[in-house]
Symmetry: C2
Subunit: 437 residues, 2 copies
């Protein structure tokens, strides 16, 4: 495995009274045993589709076939692909796309919002004849995604032969009649099934995340292999102490219950993990934030947030746990030329790689948090590639599911957001009536 | 003023027991009187340079002269400008740049981090002969910025006549000898003074923010005029109830003290305010997070975070206050064609503008938060332009300064982050010694 979790900085041994006692951690780990046992059963009997994803190959073959429509004719080698969808239909793809070569084509544009100004700016910059559009909605009725898709189709058909629209579009949705599926059928848009048993925030390793990853030329087999290794290691451990996700969940819930930690900060020191942090933020918030429970996730970034949030983290209320995600960066990147750091106060930079400074900063922040008694966990990544990222994604999904079990909440639903959807529809309906009067 | 603050959704009258009682708000507002009085004195005697910025013109003329070097020869009409700096040296510029036309040249690239992979990708994509580099560091010794600058200069001089480097660079730093100033003098790089009395997080209306804004063709006079209007309205009010920033500060501190609100969520529904949210996040965290005090700022985005964070916001711990920033978007943007929403369940979208949906969603989220008893403030923006943004920036700087006064902390220092800088230098020094052995 090319990443390693270190939790010492969360323990009272290391950081004093704000850390968790070993005894409390052991007790909490004992409480993870039922969740681990249940996960093993769900994996073995195949009833939690997420856990079967690492071993699947059939859906990759199908994806490859469907993506051919985006590459068929020479005119249709797309320069740009717009990925429509919001929340879990988008964040997984964005997380994976961060590994792609920035110069590769097609360029992917994830539109997960509905600000008209953003759409108008993108439409002005790209050519519909060389653009594909992917719409992802599990239910097939998400108001934002359906609006986005209708508007993108209208834009495409304004410039293309109407029959061509189907070849410029792909839909991903559940295998049952729903507005997205019916519209896609009418437009002769190829459709991929969204597994009904995999919610958006757990869908990154399904075709929802793999579609953009394959468009970007990533090694999706390695991604799943890494996820499989993490899954096997997590569930294969005979002692929960040896299961990294169980350890993470026990710490998070233990610090929350016993040390009043209400906020969990994920702090990557690798720019390409910026979206990973946002993906985690949804996973954690939506899975645990119910019945008045859950802790609040924050995505920060190193080093930049040392110059924005670190003051608060070190000296504000002691209500946060930190998860640093650090890279093996010493000795990498361009070097500071000696003549440009000739000032004596810059001697410490002379001849150093940019990666040396990044490495020193990530270690210094960890030390600084620990010296100030702030619970600090670290994931150190020795090589960031598809396999490692697959492992990290699986780690955090398992950690979240186990934490939900410890808290006694359902990791897979999000009942509170329904009301807002109903109110929004009602407001839109009123606009219609006002306009008709 | 093209924005309006509405605080009703934070009051017990409206949301029940989790809101602030009118009496408590009145008492807290009374406690803002000394801060308002002090701000008036500082404005009148000119001793807080931030408050003099709205009336300044001299620095704009100077900026215009210096920026000429970036436009002098025909070869030197730059296509790209890299803005180096971190935290307050970058977030203000990013906030303003969001208003620029995305197709305008030069394109600005804000590099506020030190991941080598990010630099290498950018260097591969742009032409040094057509690129300018701006380095911003108040102290002139920020390790990240000095490393970034040295590496950018090395990249420039690898491709350019060595004498040309000065014409491709600008430095912004305090008017005293420091590493950045000395290096800039040696390279014949034009230097602009960073006002020593304006800390990074309060510098957006100084040349630190105005330089990128002017490169992007924005109306910086309107920006300052908007800030001036907000300043005059805030300090001109004879009753603190009529001072919008005092009201905001009283609410934030009142809810924290009396309702255990430890987190303040800023939730813009306008994509162009995404960076504004990050700017606020630094301002609030670094100004208030000390002596164990302060609340934790979170930048969310509508509508996308309805599909990520709203479940937690509505049904998780009741420890958050929300500030929605909404736009006048009904009737704007492309329309959902009737034939693309012919499914009966999509009837509510037929013929609607994308902006109608955005408007319905932002109002629905406000309603949903209020119905669930979550303290909710709203800024509604009728027109987002330089003048409005200038007003918003000044509002939140004043609100933060007043909140610091209520909490009894210093709004202008950040003492806790020094330790980490010392540790990082020490680690870098050790790397040097290890390498020499």
């Amino acid at each position: 495995m090319d990443y390693r979790q270190n939790i010492d900085g969360c323990l009272a041994d290391k950081i004093g009274a704000r850390g968790l006692d070993r005894g409390a951690l052991d007790a909490m780990l004992g409480r993870t045993a039922p969740a681990l046992e249940k996960l093993r059963r769900l994996r073995d009997d195949g009833s939690l589709p997420l856990l079967r994803l690492p071993g699947r190959k059939d859906d990759i073959a199908q994806l490859r076939r469907v993506l051919k429509t985006f590459r068929a004719a020479p005119r249709q080698k797309f320069r740009d692909v717009i990925i429509l969808g919001t929340g879990g239909s988008s964040l997984g793809g964005q997380t994976l796309y961060a590994l792609a070569d920035e110069r590769a084509q097609p360029r992917l544009h994830f539109l997960d919002n509905i600000d008209p100004a953003t759409f108008e700016a993108l439409f002005a910059a790209i050519d519909p004849a060389r653009t594909g559009v992917v719409a992802i909605s599990k239910s097939g009725g998400t108001a934002e995604t359906m609006t986005q898709f209708a508007i993108c189709i209208d834009w495409l058909r304004g410039k293309l032969d109407p029959d061509a629209v189907g070849r410029h579009t792909i839909a991903v949705t559940e295998p049952r009649d729903n507005p997205l599926r019916l519209l896609a059928m009418r437009l002769q848009t190829p459709i991929l099934d969204h597994d009904p048993g995999i919610g958006g925030r757990y869908s990154v390793l399904s075709n929802v995340g793999l579609l953009p990853a394959m468009l970007a030329g990533l090694d999706v087999a390695a991604l799943r292999a890494g996820a499989g290794e993490t899954l096997d290691a997590a569930l294969g451990a005979s002692d929960p102490h040896d299961s990294a996700p169980a350890l993470g969940a026990a710490l998070g819930v233990g610090l929350s219950e016993q040390r009043n930690i209400g906020t969990t900060v994920i702090l990557p020191y690798v720019d390409r993990l910026a979206h990973f942090g946002l993906w985690f933020r949804q996973l954690w918030a939506e899975s645990l934030g119910k019945d008045g429970k859950g802790t609040t996730p924050i995505r920060a970034m190193g080093t930049v947030d040392q110059h924005s949030q670190l003051q608060l983290y070190l000296a504000g209320p002691a209500d946060k746990m930190f998860t640093l995600v650090t890279g093996e960066v010493a000795g990498t990147g361009p070097v500071v030329a000696p003549d440009l750091a000739s000032d004596p106060s810059l001697a410490y930079l002379t001849g150093k790689h940019m990666g040396d400074l990044l490495d020193a900063e990530q270690r210094a922040t960890e030390q600084s948090l620990i010296r100030n008694g702030r619970p600090t966990r670290r994931f150190h990544i020795t090589r960031l590639d598809e396999r490692t990222l697959g492992g990290l994604l699986m780690h955090f999904m398992l950690e979240t599911i186990i934490a939900a079990d410890l808290l006694g909440v359902n990791a897979f639903d999000q009942p509170a957001v329904e009301e807002g959807k109903v109110i929004a529809r009602q407001y839109l309906g009123e606009m219609g009536r006002e306009a008709a009067q």
